[in-house]
Every structure is written in C-alpha cells, then in structure tokens.
C-alpha cells in the first residue's frame, strides 16, 4: 500500500523556477518519469518480461504455422493432432532460434567445429554494434536525457570513419585506430550539438535528435553521391572499399565473421562502467540525471554535464558504426547503420541503463537476430517474430505493473498511477 498523494493545483506555490532557467525540465517530465521507472525495475521483472514475450511469441508462431492451421480443419475429429502440431511448431521454431544464436548441435555432432560455432560467431558479430549503440543511449539516460539520435550519430560518424578508412594510407593498426577515432569524433560532434542546443536554448533532446537523424541520414545519402566519396565507376551510392589496414582482422577466420571489433565493444563497456562509477564525470552525470535541480544548487554546471554526456554518447555511436564500416561491411553504404540506432534504445532500456546491463541486453538482442535468421531458414517461421519478441520485451518493461500482475509479484501498485500525476505537484 502506498499513500495516495493529494494533487495540488500549485496555486499557492511561489516557485517559478521551471520557467526561469532555460534548459531545465520540470522534475516530473515524461522522460524523467521514464528514466526513474526504468532504473527502478529489478532484474526479476526484466527476466519475466522476456519469459512473457516468449510465451506470446509462441502463440503467434503456432497461429501462423501451416501444420497447425491444417490440423485445425479436423480439430473435432482428432484434436490431439492440433496440440501436437502446436507443440512441434513452437518447439522447432524456438529450438532453431536458440541453436541459431548459440551452437549448431548437428554440426557439432558431425565434427565441424567451425560450422558448429558459426551461430555464436554471428551473435557476437551482430551484438558488437548493438552494445556500443546501447551505451550511446544509456549514458545520456543516466544524465536524464533520452537520446533517440544514435541512428543519426552513427550515420554521420560513418562519413568520418569511412573517409579516413579509404582515403588515407597509413600503417596497419594505426590506420584502423585513426579511422575509429575519426568516427568517434564525428559521432561526438553530432551528439554534442544536441547537448549544446539543450544547454543553451532548452531545446528538448527528443525533438533535436529526431530531426538530426533525418539530417544525418540524408547527408550520408548525399555524400555517397559525391565524387570524393563515391566509388569510382559506380553510379549507386557506395564508397570505395576500405584499405585492408583500416579493417578489423577476423579472430578465427574460416567462414566465421567474428572480428576484433567485439573486443572493442567489451572494452568500451568496461571503460564506460569505470567512468560512470569511479570518476567525477560519472558522479556528476548521475547527479544531474537523478536531480538536476539539486545538481545546479550544488554548483554543478548542468548544461556542461549534458554536453559531456552527449559527447560520450556520440563517441560510442561512432565506434558502433565502425563495427560495420571497418568490420563486417568494409564499405560505407546508405544502409550501413541499418536499424541499429533504434534497436539501441531497446538495448539500453533492457539493460536498465547500466553498462553491464547493456552488454547483456546487446548479446540477447544480437542472439535473437542471429537466431531469427537461422529459424527462418530452417523452419520457415518469419524472422518478424523476433521483432515482435523484441517489441513485447520493451512493452513489458515499460509496464512493470503488468508483469508483476501476471506473475503475482509484490511491488509498488502505485507505479501505474504516477504517470498521471497532476501539474504542479
């Protein structure tokens, strides 16, 4: 039980500061509310949200399986056929999903180690950019900012990383690092702009990041049609192939796509964790995120901290796109970012904004993606089911009261009410 708060009209209050400081959000803003909620969700709810999503996914798999539909036609004659078909379709889809994400058991039995570990290699390869992009959303999240702009930051960073990657000739290793640095700087600039606009004018980051996404994506499209960026002799938007010296080496080779980029991903998780928990920068970011008014009263420069958080975010987004530019693709195309910048929001929410949470969430979503392809190939279950799972997970995490209700967990029942809090309270 919790005490219902009496709403107040704010008529009697004298505080007018929300309007007096540009760039200050009222403490009960929607992003603030979202941030508070996500950070307060416990691990159990996260896991149960995953279980619940799998259960609903199972219903959808069964409902769309041809064998189930066929057996329903004579359900009253032989009902057990239908149950068997349901079980088989769900079991084969999910086992294909998990085998496609982790380990190909059949190949292992046949002794082809490389092929057996192909799923795991794919999972890591797909996860590497997701983890980094997840950090790009999670860091600002801790500062109270909702960065929808990883997509745009990655697109802009691809221009910088690509230019250095195919445009310069440098020794191997140095060239790769230079290309990564360029991508990180480009990403940081694009994201820093969001922080700057917020700090100086109070422009809401959700609006500016969405708009900057469009600008960056079309900018990338335009750049890809310029002489200095487009591959010679091609009319389609594609860059030259990156110099060998600027690409991530494969770790195992032999058909496994996993490259050294994944180590950069994991390294970035550790660096961000250290930054957030051990440094004054991290302390300030968390203070601003938890209570910007108290941060300002304690003399912190809230605007500067927003900018710093966005610079970190942009750098992570830049490194994220480098996983594709310097790793799997080795060229820059209009589709280089894919949908990673938006999947990153899922990863950050699922990871509850913590670096290691993001690592786990990135591997999970990466695994679902890799496994989804295998599932589609072997059972014909559409890969869209993976997107549905992903969406359901986010939905359940956004509505923890729902998960608690389904699993009869004890928790704050007022959770569902607080979002409707009145103005001035």
């Amino acid at each position: 039980m919790s005490e219902p708060s009496t709403p107040s009209t704010g008529l009697s209050g004298s505080k007018t500061e929300d309007t007096l400081h540009p760039g200050t959000e009222p403490p009960d803003s929607l992003t603030g509310e979202l941030r508070r909620r996500v950070l307060s969700i416990n691990l159990a709810v996260t896991l149960l949200a995953f279980v619940l999503a799998l259960a609903i996914g199972a219903v959808l798999i069964a409902a769309s399986a041809p064998s189930v539909i066929e057996s329903l036609g004579y359900f009253f004659a032989r009902p057990f056929d239908t149950f068997a078909a349901v079980f088989n379709s769900v079991y084969s889809a999910y086992s294909a999903l998990f085998q496609g994400a982790l380990l190909d058991v059949n190949e292992l039995r046949e002794g082809d180690v490389s092929a057996a570990f192909y799923p795991l290699s794919e999972t890591f390869t797909v996860s590497a950019p997701l983890i980094l992009a997840g950090l790009a959303v999670a860091i600002p999240f801790r500062a109270g900012l909702f960065n929808i702009g990883a997509q745009g930051q990655m697109a802009f960073a691809a221009i910088g990383g690509g230019l250095v990657g195919f445009g310069l000739s440098l020794p191997a290793g140095v060239h790769l690092l230079a290309s990564l640095a360029a991508a990180m700087v480009f990403g940081a600039l694009w994201a820093g702009l969001v922080g700057l606009l917020k700090a100086k004018t109070g422009a809401h980051e959700v609006i500016t990041t969405i708009m900057l996404n469009y600008i960056a994506i079309y900018l990338l499209g335009w750049v890809l049609n310029q002489d200095w960026f487009q591959r010679e002799g091609r009319n389609d938007p594609i860059s030259p192939i990156l110099n060998e010296s600027a690409t991530f080496p494969l770790i195992f080779g032999g058909g496994l796509r996993i490259h050294f980029g994944i180590l950069f991903s994991i390294g970035a998780v550790i660096v961000v964790w250290w930054m957030m928990t051990k440094t004054t920068t991290g302390f300030r970011i968390q203070t601003v995120g938890a209570n910007a008014a108290a941060a300002r009263t304690a003399g912190m420069n809230v605007g500067r901290i927003w900018i710093v958080a966005m610079l970190w975010a942009g750098a992570m987004a830049g490194l994220a796109v480098s996983m594709n530019v310097n790793g799997t693709d080795k060229v820059v195309t209009a589709g280089i970012v894919g949908n990673i910048g938006f999947d990153a929001i899922t990863v950050a929410l699922l990871g509850r904004g913590s670096p290691f949470g993001v690592l786990a969430a990135g591997l999970l979503i990466g695994g679902l993606r890799a496994g989804g392809l295998a599932m589609q190939a072997s059972t014909g279950t559409p890969i869209d089911i993976v997107l549905v799972l992903q969406a359901l997970i986010v939905l359940f995490i956004a509505a923890p009261a729902l998960v608690r209700a389904v699993f009869r967990l004890r928790g704050k029942t007022a959770d569902s009410l607080t979002i409707a809090k009145g103005w001035g309270s």
């Binding site: 009496t6 004298s14 440094t279 968390q286 203070t287 108290a294 300002r296 304690a298 003399g299």
Partner: protein, 501 residues
C-alpha cells in the same frame, strides 16, 4: 452535526499512522487537532474524508455509523474539507470553481453557472465572506482563494468543515480574518475541525484541543488556556524550550553588500525590485514576509541560481554578481535551499554522496577526476554522527530519511565547509520541534563563529527567535528593516505592505 471517530487505526506497511484514535467533534465548537508534522493528523483527516480506508474503527455521524469509499460519500454526509493546497482551477471564476464536481446542467448539457453564482452570493452574504462569484481565481489574493474553498464546502451544505493547516500561507492579518470567519461558522452551529501545528492560533481560536503524537491521542479535551510550553511538550513528548539561547551580538564588518538588486521573471516583471541591504559578520538577518513576495528569488539571485537579475552584490572584497553558483559557493557561501527535497538532496544517492555534492571535484574527494569513495564514506559517517542524523549508516539513500534528518544532512554538508556567509531558506519548514531546536542551535553557532547569516522565514516565531535584524519583504520590495523588539502587529502590517514611516 456530531462527528465521532471511534478507534480509527490506519497502517502503511509497518508504520502505524493512526493507532486507535477516538475523537468526538461537537457542533458549535472549534475543535483543534494539534500535532507535529508526521503525527498522523493528515492521515486521520484523509480517512474521515474518504480518501483512505481505515484498517479498523468507525466513523459515526450523528449516532449513525457510516463508511466513506470516496470524498463524494463524505461530501454527501455533510463533511467539507479545505485543503492546505487549494483545489482550485486558477483560470476559472469563483462560481465555476464552486460548481466544479457538482455541475448542474440545463437542456442540451449547458452549465447552469448562474445558479452557482447565486449560491456563492447567498453563502457569502450569510456568513459575511465577501467573495465575488465572477472574479477569476488566479487574480485573487491567497486569503480570498481560501475563502472560495470555504464557500465551496458551504454551498454543498457542509455541516462539518475541516480546515487543514489553513494559516500556512496567510499573513497575520489574513489569519485574524480567517479565524473570525471560522468563529462565525461555529456560531452558526457548524462543526469545525482545525488541523494545525501552530500553538498561538490554537490558543486563540479553539474551544477544545486534542493533541496527537505518533499516531496516538496523547491528550484530549485540553483547554485552550493551557500554556504554549505545555502544549509544545504534549506535542513533542518531552520538555521543549521555545526560546533559542542566543548570546549577545558581536557584529563585525559587512560580509555581504547587496546594491539595487532586481530579479525578473520570464515576462520581465520584477519579482525582486531594487533591493539594497547588507549582512554583517556575526549577525542573523531574517528576511520575513508572506510566501511569494520575492524572498525565494532574492536568495536564488544571491547564490547565482537566477539568470535574470541585475544589480551589484559584493561578498567581502569580491564582486559576486555574474559568478557561477560554483564560484559563489567556493568563496565561502553556504546555502540551505528552501525546498530541501527538490534542490538540496539527491534522494536516490547515499547520505555520504549527498555530503560531497558540491565538493566532489575537489581534493581529497577526488584527484584528477578519479573519486576516492573510501574517504567520502568515512566523511559521511563522521558527519552523520556529528550532526546527529538518525540513520543506520551513511550508505542509506537520502530519500529514506525523515524531513528533519534530511535537513540535518543538508546543514552538515553546507556547514562542514569554511563559511563567511550562510543562507538558510525556510530552514525549519515542516520539521518536528526537536529538529527545529537543532537547526536553530546550528544557525546560532554559525553566527557565534563570525559567519554572516541570512534566514528566510515566513514563521514569525522563528523570525523572533533568531533575528538580530528583520528585513520585511512585500511585493518584491523591502517594506522595512526593523529590530526584533518590534511588535507582532507592526511586523504583520509590514508584511501586508504597509511601509515604515
């Protein structure tokens, strides 16, 4: 109407907010419910008003037990409530606010606002409330807005009116007017319940007093003739001294000089209007005034938290207007913000972290940007012992503390630096008597060590207890600077806008 509470018990988890409370409110009586913040008064009234369901006990109206599932039930039974925070829509007229929630509609769903206006006029004439039904609420002074709430209750045929901390936002004069209105209602036979923690008002207005402490009735049918010290002891449960022991004044040079300071809101209206004053080392300057007369903005401007201000501010030899908050704090300014939950603390952080919120970038807490958490935790533990913060250790989240202990954390942080000027805005608002004593002692201790102190307060008792000089603000200007030997009436007049001759 006779209203009886029989054995009301209400628990929130392990906390027993109301423990077997029985009170009878008689018609034609002003019954004061006295208790500290957190004693359970508001919970009890929320139970009575149908906002909360009791775990045990009964509400009996004129001998008949009733159960209220919502305020609608309580209203139907003739109970009206005037909340501490008014439940009015600012842009609506008085009549519209009064009909809100009980709108009567004519054909095609048109509102019969004229009926409501007539009801307002009738009630307002009957009890001499002087409320204009067509005035827009946001244009009205706070005292009149409160009357609108009373009118609202009366138009719904309330036989019992509950007033929850009604004087918190009023000037002394407005308070007097309110009390005379309440007496009028009593004489008309209404049952009046006055919830408050202000001893003076209770003694002045109540016919009978019930004292609540920690959810229990500790004294019933107390006579209003009981002395203030005695009432305070009942509230707190031990002997309290209402006087702060204040050694004689040894003032030094001015530490803060404020010259022609103005602060503007976003519409360029002057919230603080051309204010000049100084604060000397070793004195307490109280800024008195009714809430919302520019005190908060003045203080924000002093510590660089307001970016729309002009004028000159000097701290010692250094000009500080235009400096960042960090720059001003670093020059030896301690700041206890008015809203400690919102501006003073990060609720989700540990006490130890809250203690270094403003010095985290400095040695020894961090070197080259890397934090030494060992030292910070040690410091937190030392400070909570030194400032008597009641918490199991320095690792608990600040949000778990009571108001008094939160304020001690803020004070500990601000006073553990070396200070020249301490600015405390509403330092004891909402605190229990014990914590108030502690905070007052700390403020006087700062004064004794030669720090210049500014205390912003709306409580006259506090102003008289602490001040060496009193600066009264009204409508953004200085209405007068007086010494604490001035009478309450004169101070009240200044707070209401009269100027000193």
């Amino acid at each position: 109407m006779q209203l009886q509470l029989r054995g009301i018990t209400k628990r929130f988890g392990d906390l027993v907010a109301n423990d077997d409370i029985s009170v009878t409110f008689e018609p034609g009586q002003i019954h004061a419910l006295l208790g500290e913040n957190g004693a359970g008064k508001s919970t009890l009234m929320n139970v009575l008003y149908g906002l909360l369901q009791p775990d045990a006990g009964q509400i009996v109206v004129d001998g008949e037990p009733l159960v209220f599932h919502s305020p609608a039930g309580a209203i139907a039974a003739g109970i009206g409530m005037v909340h501490q925070h008014f439940m009015l829509v600012p842009v609506f007229t008085v009549a519209e606010n009064v009909e809100l929630g009980a709108e009567s509609v004519g054909p095609f769903g048109f509102l019969k606002t004229a009926d409501a206006a007539r009801a307002v006029e009738r009630v307002s004439a009957e009890y001499r409330l002087a409320v204009d039904p067509n005035a827009v609420v946001e244009d009205l002074p706070v005292g009149i807005q409160q009357r609108v709430e009373i009118v609202k209750a009366l138009t719904r045929e309330a036989q019992c009116v509950i007033l929850d901390e009604p004087t918190a936002v009023l000037t002394p004069q407005e308070t007097d007017e309110l009390l005379s209105i309440v007496r009028g209602l009593r004489d008309a036979g209404k049952t009046i319940v006055l919830i408050t923690h202000k001893l003076r008002e209770v003694r002045e207005a109540a016919d009978v007093i019930t004292v609540i402490r920690r959810g229990r009735v500790v004294a019933e049918s107390v006579s209003p003739q009981t002395s203030e010290v005695e009432l305070a002891s009942l509230m707190v449960g031990r002997e309290v001294s209402l006087v702060v022991d204040k050694p004689s004044l040894e003032v030094g040079e001015p530490v803060l000089r404020v010259n022609q300071l103005s602060v503007y809101d976003t519409l360029d209206r002057a919230i603080v209007d051309d204010v000049s004053f100084d604060v000397r080392a070793g004195e307490v300057l109280c800024i008195a005034g009714v809430q919302g007369n520019g005190q908060s903005e003045l203080v924000e401007a002093l510590v660089g938290l307001h970016d729309r201000s002009e004028g000159r501010i000097d701290l010692g030899e250094k000009r500080i207007d235009g400096l960042s908050t960090k720059g001003i704090l670093d020059l030896g300014v301690g700041y206890v913000p008015e809203d400690r939950e919102h501006d003073g603390l990060v609720g989700s952080f540990s006490l130890a972290h809250n203690m270094v919120l403003d010095t985290i970038g400095e040695s020894p807490w961090s070197r080259r940007g890397v934090i030494n958490y060992g030292l910070i935790n040690e410091n937190g533990q030392n400070l909570i012992e030194q400032y008597d913060v009641r918490a199991t250790n320095a690792q608990v989240a600040a949000s778990t503390l009571s108001g008094g202990n939160k304020q001690k954390v803020v004070l500990a942080r601000e006073m553990s630096r070396s200070l020249r000027l301490l600015i405390a805005s509403q330092p004891t608002r909402g605190l229990d008597v014990g914590s108030i004593e502690f905070v007052h002692r700390q403020i006087i201790q700062a004064r004794q060590s030669g720090v210049g102190v500014i205390v912003v307060s709306t409580e006259l008792d506090e102003v008289y207890a602490l001040a060496d000089r009193i600066l009264v603000m009204y409508a953004g200007r200085i209405a007068g600077v007086v010494t604490p030997d001035v009478g309450r009436d004169d101070l009240g007049l200044l707070m209401a806008g009269a100027t000193t001759s």
